[in-house]
């Protein structure tokens, strides 16, 4: 899922400076699952902003709403009917939701309440870890299912590098060397010889270096 975390209250209070009424808009997609922007987080942020503003002698009207998703038109297009009445919509979706509202709702002043951080897995309650970089050219079949693009600090295609020491990455002792893990995984599958296959130079255009990416499935087009 997409992982995100709330911006600091100081930043958000500054963001809504001068506004009289805002809508805090949650999303029940990824950001709800990672406890950053679902119903409960909308309610907490509304209370925190009210408290922070009241301490500055300011009050603004804050409404709360949470959409099923903010990345599908059927859920955000209704904002065109009433959200322009607000001085701003503070979206608690990932950056996709904020962008989509900005694209489709010309009169809505949309602001981001979250920093969108990575695609990750939920290791345990309250802990998430990056597992995928969305590079658009998956090589997991070559690496035992472990991603060197997202999980190697250098995104090496042919590792490990000289900074791998006793299975740890040189950037931090808490970070496992993913190339060591790839070797261990392939060895466990009796595929360690796969490490001898040199991956060719990557074409990074699929990773967004060729501009915004787009996918079209003609069979699903209206």
């Amino acid at each position: 899922m997409i992982i995100a975390e709330r911006k600091t209250l100081k930043e958000l209070i500054g963001m809504v400076d001068g506004f009289n009424n805002i809508l805090i808009l949650g999303c029940r997609g990824c950001v709800a699952v990672c406890s950053a922007g679902g119903d409960k987080e909308v309610s907490t942020l509304a209370s925190a902003l009210k408290l922070g503003l009241s301490r500055q002698g300011r009050t603004i009207d804050i409404d709360e709403r949470t959409l099923v998703r903010q990345c599908d038109p059927e859920y955000i297009d209704p904002l065109n009917d009433d959200a322009s009445d607000y001085d701003a919509v503070l979206s608690m979706a990932c950056g996709v939701g904020v962008n989509f509202i900005a694209d489709r709702c010309p009169e809505v002043n949309v602001l981001p309440a979250l920093d969108t951080t990575f695609y990750g897995a939920n290791l345990s309650s309250g802990e998430w870890k990056e597992m995928c970089a969305g590079c658009g050219a998956c090589v997991l079949h070559l690496t035992g299912g472990l991603c060197p693009v997202a999980r190697c600090a250098k995104s090496l295609s042919n590792g490990p590098c000289g900074g791998s020491q006793e299975g740890r990455c040189e950037i931090h002792p808490d970070v496992a060397c993913i190339w060591q893990q790839i070797y261990d995984k392939l060895s466990g599958l009796n595929r360690s010889d796969d490490m001898k296959n040199i991956m060719p130079m990557r074409d990074w255009t699929t990773a967004g270096h060729g501009g915004p990416r787009r996918r079209i499935r003609e069979d699903l087009l209206p």
Partner: protein, 123 residues
Amino acid sequence: MNRIKGFCCNYTLSVEPDALKSEGLIPENVEIERLPCTGRLEVSELLDSFTQGVSAVFVVGCQLDKCHNLSGSRRASKRVSQAKKILEELEMDPGLVEMFFADRGETEPVVQAARLMSERTAG
């Protein structure tokens, strides 16, 4: 006088809060709300108390290993911790919201919590 708000579950406070006040056990400025379980409390309710003019908030739940609803007081404790972090972000004293634990039917810890929080804001 500073207003203090307390939230207690029915199991940690089995007597009416007003009775404690009329007995002179808790200060007049302390208002206690009884809940079926403190695990029901949300962070927003803790924060809203401050916005409504309360100076300090406390929660009294069951002992962590003896919660009537198993994990209610643990949930409450985590939410109090979250509220503390938000107070810090807002440059407020995180000690203005506090979690306490009490054995079932033991009124004394509730009284002590109320007095402590009242004293904490007195200065």
